[in-house]
Amino acid sequence: MILNKLFQKNRHFFVLSFLLVISFQGHGFGFSHIKGEEHFDIQSGSLMGLLHVSYVNEYDNQHSVLVGLGYIPKLSNHKEMLLHSLRYRYDFAKTWQVKDMILNPLSLGVGLLVSSHDDLFLDLPAQYPDGYYAPSAMRIIFNYQATLQIRPHFQAYFDVSVLDVGLISYIREPDFFYDNYDYLGLEGITNWGVGVRYGF
């Protein structure tokens, strides 16, 4: 319920996310000692929209906070919609030199995804008793990334994401996924996407 109130409107969530990143950035709250590197990130797929643009702040070469905005075009049964995201990514510090490039094969992340559409809600519509449903417009997403640093300020990455309900179901009933999907059942819960990242 606290989350409900906290994220009453998508724009509030977006503004809150932005402020959070700005605050980490140290532009207003005096935490300049933790100011990180800034990146601009564009991603497609992986449940993040046809296009998802994010502002990234990276600290200590390992911790990144991303705030982003995605676009989903009109699909067969619903009109176009926007996605707002607030994500965290941890880059494991194990790298592999590939000619002039550097491969970081393992980054793990978690994020909050909020969509804006008339058929989805953050606050329960009036007809429901309190707590009847969790917000249908908000999902938690987990992701894996392998990143290739092509130039000093330019990275390309491959992303595999799992939705909250997918991860929970997989952990809870792995046999169902082993039996019905390939690759240890991961085929039943994962989605891929690609992206590029540019450092300022």
Partner: protein, 277 residues
């Protein structure tokens, strides 16, 4: 820390990336997509045809059973175990899946449930639940399953499925349609209704109305436990099947003597006794 000189690092990394690349074979842009990979085997129309063919094949059966499976939401594995068990029950002629196939109404949940439904050896008829209408579930339902209200006759008994999810749909249940569908009950063996939610406490008059329309039994889900009740002054029994997380289901036996209901696990069944309330 640089692992580039470690012998194991390169092959393990490559293998991990390849496995994950191949496993993540779906390119999806939205968690709220509306195209689960369901075949027409889950549609009501397909299963009506299957049941009609089966009835023609077996002719008149004095005795048969109907499995009542409910609320598989988020537990596709337990649902699969129940369906695989029901597949072994020779007297079960069809399955009623009494709603909440999904939990949050997203594509992935419907996809998992469809995977299991397609394994049912008997015709399987889904009834829409309140959770199925979340997000874009209504669209998925109409595209892959079919109507929210429908009926069919099997062995001279009529089964009427109706939508009673009042929070998600306006003007349900459709009482005019129910009155129309129940006409001619005097000439049938039994008239049985099924919906995800049994008559609401705020609308218990529905039970009396159904009784007046000649209905003999209601089959439902939603409450996640077995219950079998009738209003003392109405005497129309309503059976509620538990959710599949319990790896349990209901079993309706139809025979000339009447209707019997059992609460079943994968190892045993126990006759359900109706209680007055």
């Amino acid at each position: 820390m640089d692992f580039k000189h470690d012998a194991w690092f390169k092959p393990v990394t490559l293998a991990a990336i390849m496995a994950l690349t191949l496993s993540g074979c779906n390119y999806e842009i939205s968690p709220w997509a509306t195209d689960p990979n369901c075949s027409n085997k889950v549609s009501i129309e397909y299963n009506l045809n299957r049941l009609a063919e089966f009835e023609e094949q077996v002719g008149v059966r004095d005795t048969y059973q109907v499995a009542i499976v409910s609320d598989p939401q988020s537990y596709p594995g337990a649902f699969e175990n129940v369906i695989e068990h029901v597949n072994t029950l020779e007297d079960v002629d069809f399955i009623l899946l009494t709603g909440d196939l999904a939990d949050t109404g997203i594509k992935a949940e419907f996809e998992w449930v469809c995977t299991v439904m397609e394994k049912a050896k008997q015709p399987i008829f889904a009834v829409i639940g309140n959770h199925d209408a979340l997000a874009f579930g209504k669209d998925i339902w109409s595209k892959y399953f079919g109507p929210e209200d429908y009926s069919f006759t099997y062995q001279n008994s009529k089964f009427i499925a109706y939508n009673d999810n009042k929070y998600e749909f306006a003007n349900v249940p459709d009482r005019d349609w129910l009155a129309q569908e129940t006409q001619g009950y005097e000439d049938r063996d039994f008239t049985i209704v099924t919906s995800h939610i049994a008559p609401w406490d705020s609308d218990l008059a529905l039970s009396q109305e159904l009784k007046d329309l000649g209905v003999d039994l209601g089959l439902h889900g939603h409450v996640h436990r077995f219950d079998f009740w009738q209003l003392f002054d109405v005497q129309l029994p309503h059976y509620e099947a538990t959710f599949t997380k319990d790896e349990s289901f209901g079993l309706l036996s139809v025979n000339p003597a009447g209707l019997t209901l059992e609460n079943c696990t994968l190892s045993q069944c126990e006759v359900a006794q109706v209680r007055n309330r």
